[in-house]
Amino acid sequence: MGNCQKYLEKLIDGSYEAMHPVERKIFERELSSDPKCKQEFDQMKKTLVLMENSSVPDPGENYWNSYWENINPKIEKSLKPVNIKWQGLLRAAAFIAGGLFLGYLLFSQPQDEMASTNLSEEDVRQVALSNETMDLLEDSKILLLGIVNLDTQTGESENIDFSFQKEFSGNLLRKAADLKELLKDSPNRRVINLLSELELIMMQITNLENKFDLPAIEVIQGGADEQSLLFKIDLERMLIDAQLENPAKNKQDKKDKIKS
C-alpha cells in the first residue's frame, strides 16, 4: 500500500467510518498535508461510494413462494447417501465374512488349546467381535486423525484430494453398521453408542466434496472435538484389550461380581 498505507488501511478496515468527528477532523488534517495520499484516499473512497449503488434484484413473489418446495426434495435426497440395495448386499457379504471368520476361529484352534483356556463358543464369538471392534476403532482413529489434524488456516491443505478418505470412510460406515447389528444384544451399550457417533462422522466424511470442502471439514473437526471421539476410541480400545488378554478370567470376575 506504499507510503499512504496508514491512511488507506483506515478506509479499508472501516475504522475511518467509525471515527469520532473530532478524531476524523485530525485524521483529515493530517491527510491533507500529504497531497499524494489525499488523492489516493479520495479516489478509493469514491470507488466505495460508487459501489454502494449496487443492488440485488428481487426475483419475484413466485420465486420466494416456491423456494421451500424447490429445496425440500434436495434435502431429502441428501439424507440418503448410500443406495439401499447396495447396503443390503454389503451387509449380507459382511455377515458371510463374519461367519467365515468365526468358523475359522472355532475350527482352526487345536482342541487342547481351547480346553486349556476353557473358552465356550460364546466366548470365541465375543473374542471375534472384540477383534473386529478393535480393527474398526483403529481404522476410524487413523482416518479421524488425518481429518482433525488438517490445517485449515494456512491454505496448504487446499489441494488435497479427499476421494480416498471418502471411500475409506464409506467402507468403515458399512462395517460399523454391520458390527452394531452383531452387537445389538451386547450389554456393552457404550461401544454401541460410540459406533453410532462414528457412523455420523463417517457419513459426513463420505459426503465430503472430493476437493477441499472447508465448511464440512470444520464441522467434522468440531464434531470430533466436541464428542471427544479420539479419547473415547482410545478408552474403548484399552478396555477391549484388557478383556482380550484374559476373557476367561474376565468372565469369572463378572460371575463373582454378580454373586457378591
Binding site: 500500500m1 488507506l8 488501511e9 479499508i12 478496515d13 472501516g14 488523492q39 479520495d42 479516489q43 478509493m44 469514491k46 470507488t47 466505495l48 460508487l50 459501489m51 454502494e52 449503488n53 449496487s54 443492488s55 440485488v56 434484484p57 426475483p59 420465486y63 420466494w64 423456494y67 421451500w68 424447490n70 429445496i71 425440500n72 434436495k74 434435502i75 441428501s78 485449515t152 488456516q153 491454505g155 487446499e158 455420523l200 459426513q204 459426503n207 466434496e209 476437493k211 477441499f212 470442502d213 472447508l214 465448511p215 464440512a216 470444520e218 464441522v219 467434522i220 468440531g222 464434531g223 466436541e226
Partner: protein, 195 residues
C-alpha cells in the same frame, strides 16, 4: 435462550417444520449474498440451495455461538470459492467470454463518455459494477461483499474465509484497487484526472 437458539434446538430434534422456518427467515439474506457472489440469478439460486443443504447437514454439530446468519454466510462464501475452484474449465470458458464482453463493455464506456446523462442511469451503473466485480478473485470478492454489503468486521471475514486479518486487508485492498481500475471511466465521480 433466544428464539434462534430455540429454533436450532427444534431442528436438532428432527422437527422439519422448524428447518423450514429457518429457511423462510433467511432465504432473502442468503439469496442476496449468493447473487452478489455469483452475479446472476441462476447461479445464485443454485448456490443458495447448496448453502441451506450444507447447513442442514451440519446442524447436529452447529455451534450456537456462531449465529445462524454468520454461519450461512460462511458456508456461502466457502461454497462459492470451492465451486470456482472446481469449475476450472468453465472458468476458462467464462474468461474467454469476459474478454469478448470486455470489448462491448469498453465500447459502452466510450459511448457513455459522449453522453454523460446516460451514465447516471442506475441500471447502467449497476451493469458496470457487475462487470467490475468480475475482475475480482473469488476470495477478494467474498471479502469485499462481506465487508461492504454485509457489514462484517475484518476479524469476522478472517474467520469466515479462514485466513488471517492481514490477508483479509490485503484482499480488500487489492479488490478495491481492481474495482477502482475497472470503474476508472467514472473519472469525475472518482476524482481521477483525465489522462
Amino acid at each position: 435462550m433466544t428464539d434462534e437458539q430455540k429454533l436450532i434446538d427444534r431442528i436438532k430434534q428432527g422437527e422439519r417444520s422448524a428447518f423450514r422456518e429457518l429457511v423462510e427467515n433467511n432465504k432473502q439474506a442468503v439469496y442476496a449474498i449468493c447473487f452478489r457472489l455469483s452475479g446472476n440469478h441462476t447461479d445464485a439460486d443454485e448456490l443458495s440451495q447448496v448453502v441451506f443443504i450444507k447447513f442442514f447437514k451440519s446442524i447436529p454439530l452447529f455451534r450456537q455461538e456462531a449465529g445462524v446468519q454468520s454461519w450461512l454466510y460462511k458456508i456461502a462464501v466457502n461454497s462459492f470459492i470451492d465451486q470456482k475452484r472446481k469449475k476450472v474449465d468453465k472458468i476458462m470458458h467464462l474468461f474467454s467470454q469476459e474478454e469478448t464482453d470486455e470489448g462491448t463493455f469498453e465500447q459502452t464506456i466510450i459511448s457513455e463518455k459522449s453522453d454523460p446523462e446516460q451514465a447516471t442511469d442506475a441500471s447502467i451503473i449497476q451493469a458496470h459494477i457487475d462487470q467490475a466485480m468480475k475482475k475480482l478473485s473469488p476470495k477478494e470478492k467474498s471479502a469485499f461483499i462481506l465487508k461492504h454489503y454485509h457489514g462484517h468486521t475484518i476479524k469476522e471475514i478472517a474467520g469466515a474465509i479462514n485466513t488471517s486479518e492481514g490477508t483479509v486487508k490485503s484482499l480488500l485492498f487489492r479488490g478495491v484497487k481492481k474495482l477502482q481500475q475497472a470503474l476508472s471511466f467514472y473519472r469525475p465521480e472518482l476524482g481521477l484526472e483525465e489522462k
